[in-house]
């Protein structure tokens, strides 16, 4: 498709007249860093990138885009793992990175008012001296922005006890397509009218542009201790997780790694993991000294009873950080043993873990690709890492097909295609597997109610029924979806 040269594009002229010179980037070389997000297999140079410094400038961009019917792709730090920030070729990438001020810290009410481009970890750093922190901790927290966290309803390793983004945000100010500032939620624990705040969480930039967020801050727990338990069988490890939770303990973090992940992490950071184990669990217990002491005793007993071959309690904070370092570096560790890896993000009811991991192992053989599993065991969020080499013909396609089968399996056992990474462009066709037509049409109706022309982050998160029909025509066997016997809920 031919389009006007950047300097003659009337849209760019309009943006340049509304925004300062250095807020509009239109030459292909400078736009290169914006061509993809954390899902680097999908790339697209946008028509133009804007980097407003003020709310008024964001409003101006929205008005221009609405008038010219230009697609808008909002972007925080570009750490999305589902292509949520992948540009549209005719569209504007609207970067919120320069709205990066912490506006107010309210120690009394334990809240912080921050602009959308403030980084997740920056919030906790800014309130550390008050003994407070912001709980959701996605693994990209050093870089990802709070606006992006809202758009994806970001999770992390502490969700089971401290909740997702949706549980830790009180208010969002966003710009709608008309360029108006809409305030959603408030300083109180609930707000009058509909819970639009929940609707906005995880809406992947399709309902408005987040400019400001009021986050809840939590007191830093006095004590946190980590237990590591090793198992010679992954199902035993799964049962151990169930036993701990059934006994009434809600750990601050509860993670599982399989043999391949243990080995890779150990080779990478020497976390002190037993490499002969089939699975390890990391269980973090936090609270007051007394509470933690009780819980550690209780959990140690339960882990042992479930058949642990080895249980270690981190003796001090250094060892605790070391235990966690293996888990936190599991993804880069894969980078050392494989040229490329593809990270999946399904959630399953925990009791299905054994069945799902066995099936994944079988798929690994079928596709001839290695896989390592890390798992937010407490909340059932599974991250299989499919190892492949993009330079080998067809391997990326094979990895994608492998991943798709894993996600279909997650849906079949009563789970979901995405626990915390979002649908984006990556899993849009998988939405046709998880939801029926009426529900997808309902999602589309909600989208249209906020954005009748489909300008906000188009072609992501919610598939059209036409797209699903096309997808189903290709994937339905003998007129049936995979696992037709299962109720889709």
């Amino acid at each position: 498709m031919s389009r006007p040269k950047p300097d003659r594009d009337p849209l760019i002229d309009q943006l340049r007249s509304a925004l300062p010179e250095d807020c509009v980037v239109a030459d292909p070389v400078s736009m290169k860093p914006y061509e993809c997000d954390g899902l680097s297999g999908y790339r697209q140079i946008p028509r133009v990138v804007v980097l407003p410094r003020t709310v008024e400038q964001v409003q101006a961009v929205m008005k221009i885009c609405q008038k010219t019917r230009t697609p808008i792709v909002p972007r925080g730090a570009g750490t999305s793992l589902s292509g949520g920030a992948m540009p549209h070729k005719n569209g504007v990438v609207l970067s919120l990175a320069r709205l990066n001020r912490i506006l107010e810290i309210d120690q009394d009410n334990r809240t912080a008012r921050v602009q959308a481009g403030v980084r997740n970890l920056q919030i906790s750093e800014a309130v550390q001296h008050l003994g407070l922190y912001y709980a959701p901790d996605p693994s990209s927290q050093i870089a990802c922005t709070i606006g992006g966290n809202v758009a994806e309803n970001a999770g992390g390793v502490h969700c089971l006890k401290y909740g997702l983004t949706v549980h830790n945000i009180l208010q969002v100010k966003m710009i709608n397509l008309d360029g108006e500032i809409v305030s959603i939620g408030g300083t109180s624990l609930d707000s009058p009218g509909y819970d639009l705040l929940a609707l906005l969480m995880g809406s992947e930039g399709m309902l408005g542009i987040v400019i400001e967020v009021l986050v809840r801050l939590l007191p830093v727990p006095k004590v946190a201790r980590v237990l590591m338990a090793a198992y010679d069988d992954i199902e035993k490890a799964g049962n151990a997780v169930a036993a701990v939770i059934a006994a009434g303990v809600i750990p601050g973090g509860f993670e599982m790694m399989d043999k391949a992940a243990i080995q890779a992490a150990e080779d990478f950071v020497e976390a002190g993991y037993p490499t002969d184990a089939e699975a390890i669990l990391l269980c973090e217990l936090d609270g007051t000294e007394e509470d933690v002491r009780d819980q550690v005793r209780k959990v140690e007993e339960l882990l042992a009873k479930a058949g642990a071959t080895d249980i270690r309690l981190a003796a001090n904070n250094i060892q605790r950080v070391r235990f966690w370092s293996g888990r936190k570096n599991a993804f880069p560790a894969m980078g050392r043993i494989s040229p490329d890896y593809y990270c999946m993000d399904g959630t399953i009811p925990r009791k299905e873990l054994g069945h799902v991991l066995t099936s994944i192992a079988r798929l690994s053989e079928k596709y001839g690709l290695r896989v390592a599993n890390v798992f937010h065991a407490g909340d059932g969020n599974l991250h299989p890492l499919i190892l492949y080499d993009a330079n080998q013909p067809d391997e990326f396609e094979k990895a994608e097909a492998f991943g798709a089968e894993i996600l279909d399996l997650c849906v079949a056992v009563g789970g979901t295609i995405t626990g915390e990474h979002g649908v984006g462009v990556e899993k849009i066709e998988r939405m046709c597997v998880q939801f029926d037509e009426a529900s997808l049409a309902q999602f589309m109706a909600v989208r249209k109610a906020f954005d009748p022309d489909g300008l906000l982050n188009p072609d992501k998160a919610v598939p059209t029924l036409a797209r699903c029909a096309e997808f189903n025509a290709m994937h339905v066997h003998h007129g049936e979806l995979p696992h037709p016997e299962l109720e889709r809920f």
Binding site: V182, L189, L199, P219, I245, G248, T288, G414, T416
Partner: protein
């Protein structure tokens, strides 16, 4: 059971085609909230009941919306678990669907989360009679728009709930309530908001003008530690929190309209001439008063919060009026889910 869901859906389909407004009814324990439109056909959902799925180790329960809360709580308690939000009127027969639609929560809410915080997914009938599924039954799930959490506090205006998947919590090993003399409001607010810096054991805190009450939940040693830090007298009045949840304390029997004012917990004193009971560590303030609705709402607005009138009065709407962009934004969601405006019209907002 599925037949009943189909029957309800076909009732909504015909109501949609004939533009007949429906009044969704379950146990009716919260019929005093919101305005019920005239000429509504009743849609009774109480028959659609029963727990569908519950595995304690998953911390998840899926139930039909007409299931009475007592039934749910009984099964949960048998397995050492509970609902995290202490919904009112369980003993009066309240159903899960009604608890979700009204979104009322007891004293634990400020510490463990609100009704919406525990919803993992719903199946509901939209205003066209279509059966919609949003969310699921796992704790982490970001596929599709979140149309399930907004069902809480929507008063049935967004859909007829059929199924709700909830996250549940373990019952605390022990609970203890401490009583503290305190007659200064600001000092009470300060204490209730400082103590959580020292312990995670607090699960309720209220102030009635003379005393702070703090409930501690957790392990024996955790409670012992928190008690030692907070001090005060141990209360053996276990019914206090239940009576607060269910509007049965003496406070609620006083004359005047009952108002709920929701503000940031450390907001200044309302300073109205009223009887006041502060819950949620300051974030929920109950008033019994004859002050004018306008003055109460203006004061709540001034503090960045809002006020709801819980005493039925044809001249005083329950819910805080919205206008401008806020109301227009609400309407977008309503129109997407109930284009003909037949589901509980006017119950939450005048006009829709």
């Amino acid at each position: 059971m599925p037949c009943l869901a189909d029957e309800l859906a076909s009732r909504v389909v015909s109501a949609y085609s004939s533009q007949t407004p429906l009044n969704i009814i379950a146990a009716g324990t919260k019929s005093f909230l919101g305005r019920q439109a005239d000429n509504c056909e009743p849609l009774d959902v109480t028959g659609h009941r029963g727990i569908i799925e519950y595995d304690p180790a998953e911390l998840v329960m899926v139930s039909r919306a007409g299931t009475p809360l007592v039934e749910i709580e009984k099964v949960l308690h048998e397995h050492g678990q509970m609902l995290g939000f202490e919904p009112p009127f369980a003993d009066a027969g309240a159903t899960l669907g009604g608890a979700v639609a009204a979104g009322l929560a007891g004293p634990r809410r400020a510490y463990t989360g609100s009704v919406r915080d525990f919803i993992l997914g719903t199946t509901f009938i939209n205003g066209k009679g279509e059966t919609i599924t949003a969310g699921g039954k796992v704790i982490k799930n970001v596929a599709g728009f979140d149309l399930f959490r907004p069902m809480a506090r929507s008063m049935g205006t967004l859909g007829v709930l059929l199924k709700v998947a909830l996250r549940v919590l373990p019952l605390p090993e022990q609970e203890r309530t401490l009583l503290h003399e305190e007659s200064d409001e600001l000092s009470a607010l300060r204490k209730m908001n400082q103590w959580p810096m020292e312990t995670q054991a607090i699960s309720a805190s209220s102030w009635d003008g003379t005393h702070i009450r703090i409930r501690l939940s957790g392990s024996e040693s955790g409670i012992a530690h928190a008690s030692a830090h907070i001090g005060g007298d141990q209360m053996d009045e276990v019914s206090y929190w239940r009576d607060l949840t269910n509007f049965k304390l003496d406070f609620f029997q006083q004359p005047g309209r009952l108002w709920r004012v929701s503000v940031a917990p450390m907001s200044a004193a309302l300073g109205l001439s009223t009887h006041q009971l502060i819950d949620w560590g300051g974030a929920q303030r109950w008033l019994k008063t004859d002050e004018t609705p306008a003055s109460i709402r203006a004061r709540a607005d001034q503090l960045g919060g809002f006020a709801e009138c819980f005493s039925p009065d044809p001249n005083v709407p329950t819910y805080h009026p919205l206008n401008g962009i806020a109301l227009a934004t609400e309407k977008r969601l309503k129109t997407a889910l109930d284009p003909a405006g037949i589901l509980n019209p006017g119950r939450l907002h005048p006009g829709f």
